[in-house]
Amino acid sequence: MAGEKLETVAVAAEKAESPKIKSFGDFIDFLKKELKPEGSIATPFNIISLPIMLLGYVFIVLRLASGLGKPITNLSQQYPWGLWIGFDVVTGVAFAGGAYVLCFIVYILRAEKYHPIIRATVLNGFLAYLFYAGAIVLDIGRWWNIYNPMVGNNFGVNAVMFLVAWHFFLYMLAELVEFSPAIAEWLGARKARKILGAMTLGAVIFGITLSTLHQSGLGALMMMAKSKIHPLWYTEFIPILYFVSSIFAGLSLVIFEGSISHKVFAYQLDEHHKEQYNDILVGLSRICAVVMFGYFFLKILLVVHGHAVKYINTPMGYWWLLEMIGFVLVPCFAFLRGAQREDTALIKFAAIITMIGIILNRLNYTFIAYNWYVPLSEKYWPTPIELTVTASIILTEIWVFRWMVRRMPVLREPPAWAKAMGHD
């Protein structure tokens, strides 16, 4: 991103003065202007990401044309769910959990300390949902029926999947509302900004409730795979585990994402924000540590409760221990240590480990510890195509994220007129 580096705070300030849009025509012109890329296109990031994305889109078209089977994916009758659900959807949603946690902290508990990063997080969460919902469209076999749970003529009202679908949908709306003030400021629509700002709290509360339910709902999807998931992972309390883990999963993604975007978009940040930021990291890592500590004991408790201790001394048992110690206990204390000596590097490292741990945990439920008893020949592992598509989805999200951050007051201070209105 050498390009942006040249830009100065002055530019940012100039952007902060929002455009005057009188008519629809103006809006179109404005949009045209905004859609033009800023800075040079030939940044290393673009050069790497662009081909991957394009390749990914090609594969997506292929998949829609020729169906899910080999060679597109390795899905089989044994393993109905693979990387696209296991990583894109289930894991992605867990990572998006940061949004509702921070909203709770900021809007409900009024911890103003975390206010500066709230917009970035909400935007991130929103995009995550947008694109991971998109991933569902890719993964479900009969994607042209995707709207059925919404407007179909028969609702599976007592199906977990039905709840999850609706919650995804509604939560996206909620987050859009939460984020909408930024858009309004971008468009300089003052009236709209006022109304939307007023709606924030309602949206937040609705959103948190929904998140609670569908974060755990994703876990509840696996409840009826009792005979297939290894007893070390299957308990009647999978939903609770999913919910709890989504908290620190989300936060560690916030830490990770934040630390990157604070480098990339440094020019948008004023000093006040910058000095605040370390403090924020420390606070977040403390939260992570505490939650992970609880999560760890919860896991052990449930294994004992499920009479699964006897499996510890088996290959699956070792795998479980690696997940529990290597990816929960170790980062937990890494977070603590980092928090105590305000060592952001350590915190970021811990965040990364935690994220990997979450990925493993979710994949365990979808295909690693699922049907663990089948011989190697029938096992599932993602094809290069699946990986590419996943990568391109993530990259696309990053591109959109970048585009919006550059133009809208996400990291940067909102324009003065907007501040005067208060609300958020």
Binding site: Y318, W319, L322, F349, A369, K379
Partner: protein
């Protein structure tokens, strides 16, 4: 800078862990074969494991070559290893003195005995055995099943041999050589003539017996005379003595494999051998005081030919049944009344039990597998069947063998079944041949000849649920069609269709009689179906009764391909 390196290193370690873990997990589903090998030929080796004491062994079991040691210690004699009891008789246990039954003691005893001797030999500069653990506890034996020798069957033939041989030297006190019983008065073994019994009665320690015998068993248990010890003592000591007196070839075997051959004589082979005579009657008229039914005349001689031991029927002692079983049951007979004693379906010792076992033989099972046997519980049993045994007169009349001459030969020569005409050529069923075959089988066996009184009895095998009498009257048993419909009965979906009736009846019989041809389970060349009905050359209008023209059309090619004659 250094920290980033550190982080990198940790990261790499994590990657390795994940990779290794995934490898482990992905192969977790693979089945793990851990099977015990079995040593095909024990040849005189003994495996020392003592699972009953040690349970799971720390070191591999010891496989002990008895022959080798025997030869090594020829000069010293068996006494070197085996203890001797007060009567100067060798006890074939090892080692000599075992203090206690706990792991420590037993292990110590073995180690002392074996290694001690081996050391001794070393000192005497003689050829000697190993002293180091690994040489006896060889690792290659860890997954080897402990060697076990097949039980020796001292059948009537061997018994006969022994009697003949010993008669030459001992004359009239031959039997007392081995046979004995324990008298509580004299507190020692005594011998009474004509009361010889099998060793098992008193020395089979894990059998539960009546009060009388149980007392004796208790004694032999105290003396540690299990069947194994007792027989080894009796046989081997005797054999060794004779070997001393008369030399090798006169004497009986002392090698494990010589007796423990694992080869057993069948009743057929033993039929010619005369049964040991202790004054049992040839024929006996079994008659119980004021019993409801008439007496049964029982031919003991013929029956004892069909069992390898006396114990087969005389399960407790060699006494008559009514000694222990009375009309109302006696304590010494565990209060089993005599009716049950004779008619218990599930006992090997009762008449009914043994007879119903016979009907399970493959020759008989064909018909009998779906004829429910009659026993005491049967409500309103068929009088004529009871009367077959309960004749109430002696001598026992043996009926004439069955013959099919009485039947309308031409009428029942062959039956043509056309149920599957659509698909197959009609099946030709050689009815008469089958009847003849059955008659032959019946005539070959005494039991069958006695119970199948007339040829119509055989018809019941297939034309079930139609009593003999009706068939006897007019010589036309019902057709299958009379009861079994061609179509499904919508009212009673469990009703057997004609198709099923044929298949189950024919194949059921073939299965039970272990006839390879027309067996339902075993594949045969050219297909099981073709055994009875040849495939039609032309393709059928429709394969099954299913009406599905669309599918048929779309699959016509496949079908025709499949139905092209091969």
């Amino acid at each position: 800078m250094r920290r980033t390196v550190l982080f990198l290193i940790i990261g790499v370690i994590y990657l390795i862990l994940i990779a290794a873990g995934l490898g482990m997990v992905y192969t977790a589903g693979e089945p793990v074969p851990a099977k015990e090998r079995e040593i095909a030929k024990p040849d005189n080796k003994i495996s020392i494991a003592h699972a009953e004491i040690f349970g799971k062994l720390e070191r591999p079991q010891v496989i002990f070559d008895h022959k080798k040691h025997e030869e090594a210690a020829k000069s010293e004699g068996c006494g070197t290893c085996h203890p001797v009891n007060d009567k100067k008789k060798l006890l074939f246990s090892f080692p000599k003195d075992v203090k206690g039954k706990d792991k420590e003691a037993v292990m110590r005893a073995y180690h002392d005995a074996c290694i001690g001797c081996h050391k001794q030999k070393r000192i005497e500069h003689k050829k000697s055995g190993p002293l180091v653990c690994g040489d006896c506890h060889q690792d290659k034996y860890t997954l080897v099943k402990p060697i076990s020798y097949p039980v020796v069957e001292f059948d009537f033939e061997r018994h006969d041999k022994h009697v003949k041989k010993l008669k030459e030297t001992l004359g009239k006190d031959t039997c007392r050589q081995c046979h004995h019983t324990y008298s509580f008065e004299e507190k020692k073994l005594v011998y009474k003539e004509k009361t010889e019994e099998s060793c098992y009665y008193c020395h089979d320690l894990d059998k539960k017996r009546g009060p009388e015998v149980a007392a004796i068993i208790k004694v032999s248990a105290e003396k540690g005379l299990s069947m194994q010890n007792a027989s080894h003592q009796e046989c081997l000591n005797c054999h060794l003595e004779i070997r001393k007196k008369k030399g090798e070839k006169e004497a009986g075997p002392t090698e494990c494999m010589k007796c423990h051959t694992g080869k057993y004589k069948t009743t057929a082979e033993l039929e010619k051998i005369p049964r040991p005579d202790r004054g049992q009657k040839e024929k006996s008229y079994i008659y119980v005081e004021n019993a409801k039914l008439k007496g049964v005349s029982f031919n003991h001689q013929t029956h004892q030919k069909y069992s390898k031991t006396c114990m087969a029927c005389h399960h407790e002692t060699l006494k008559a049944c009514k000694e222990c079983h009375s009309l109302t049951g006696k304590p010494e007979g565990k209060n089993v009344n005599i009716a049950k004693a004779y008619h218990d379906m599930f006992s090997e010792h009762s008449c009914a039990g043994c007879h119903s076992k016979q009907t399970a033989k493959k020759e008989c099972a064909g018909c009998h597998h779906n004829i429910v046997a009659m026993d005491l519980e049967t409500m309103s049993p068929r009088k004529d069947t009871c009367a077959l045994c309960h004749t109430g007169k002696e001598p026992l009349p043996m009926p004439a063998p069955l013959s099919t001459s009485g039947l309308k030969q031409d009428k029942i020569k062959e039956v043509t079944v056309k149920v599957l005409e659509k698909e197959y050529e009609p099946a030709k069923f050689p009815h008469l041949d089958i009847v003849n075959k059955l008659a032959k089988i019946s005539n070959d066996s005494r039991l069958a000849t006695y119970f199948h009184r007339n040829i119509q009895t055989l018809c019941e095998g297939c034309h079930h649920r139609s009593p003999v009498t009706t068939e006897a009257e007019k010589n036309t048993p019902p057709y299958c069609r009379n009861c079994h419909m061609i179509v499904y009965d919508k009212e009673d979906l469990n009703a057997i269709r004609l198709l099923t009736a044929y298949h189950n009846q024919c194949m059921g019989c073939h299965d039970e009689m272990k006839i390879k041809k027309g067996n339902s389970m075993v594949f045969v060349e050219g297909g099981r179906c073709a055994v009875c009905h040849k495939k039609k050359k032309a393709g059928p209008a429709e394969l099954t009764t299913v009406k599905n023209q669309r599918v048929y059309n779309q699959n016509k090619k496949i079908i025709l391909n499949r139905w092209r004659p091969d």
